[in-house]
Amino acid sequence: MIEDPDELVAGERYTTSGPSVLIADDDPAIRPLIAAICRRAGFRCDTASDGAEALAKLRSGIVYDVLVLDLMMPKVSGYEVIATLRELAVRPAVIVLTAQGPRQTEGIADGNIVHALLTKPFDIHELESLISDTAESKYVLRASESGGS
């Protein structure tokens, strides 16, 4: 859980200590792996073991800069999480990480909600670069928007 004190800005909980990442995957080995990558990059991270838990955290008021999302999860799938994200005013950049083939994921990385798609097993360096670049960009954008409001 993200426990550091947050600053309330424009009605949202704005994390002051750098980018944050939510990892949503039902594979218990993936969550610590990606968490370790995020920690190496200096980011804070939180985890969800299914889509329902991910949505609950996204709606909790905590702002995440990046959501690393599996597609095939119990309770609520990654596809449903993406559909729900379209309705949220404040949403993270989404990196889909899936074992699904190209046929199942065709068109999903539309650049609007889903910024990138990686296939499992992932290359550690590739994912690390992708999370870093995406989280930094989103965090800077969010910080500048909050500062300007």
Partner: protein, 151 residues
């Protein structure tokens, strides 16, 4: 992560499994085995090593529980996807990082069993903290049933 945080997190889990996190390293490169042994000593983890596929399979099927498997898929005596097939049969699987000198064949990188890949050219020394973090987090999850705090 601070060492104090790591110690605190692991100490709670070790109340349930006093032996601590366990890593199996399957590689025929003595330098890799030496490095991983050093990581385990530093972190007080258990470390088993295998120099070929037969040895790796023997250890995986011995009943011992591993939190992390670091495996070179170009091991000697490699019989197709024997390690991946063995992992598929396991109910509680370790996190699996494949270390490879060249892109492995698709059948060796089943995304439901193998989680991540690292190029052999990578500076593994720089990744030892990441490897230790993964093993420790898997150990906490295995012994407590909950994800550790990743802050």
């Amino acid at each position: 992560m601070h060492d104090g945080q790591r110690s605190e997190r692991v100490s709670g889990a070790r109340a349930r499994d006093v032996r601590g996190p366990a890593i199996l390293v399957a590689d025929d490169d003595p330098a890799i085995l030496q490095l991983m042994n050093a990581v385990c000593r530093r972190e007080s983890f258990r470390c088993d090593t295998a120099r070929d596929v037969s040895e790796a399979l023997e250890k995986l099927q011995s009943g011992e529980t591993y939190d992390l498997l670091v495996v070179d898929v170009m091991l000697p005596k490699m019989k197709g996807d024997a390690i991946v097939a063995a992992l598929r049969e396991m109910s509680a699987r370790p996190a699996v990082i494949v270390v490879t000198a060249e892109p492995p064949s698709p059948r060796l990188v089943d995304g439901s069993v193998v989680h991540a890949m690292l190029a052999k050219s990578t500076d593994l020394l720089a990744l030892t903290a990441l490897i230790a973090d993964v093993a420790e987090a898997m150990f906490v999850l295995r012994t407590t049933g909950s994800d550790p705090s990743f802050t």
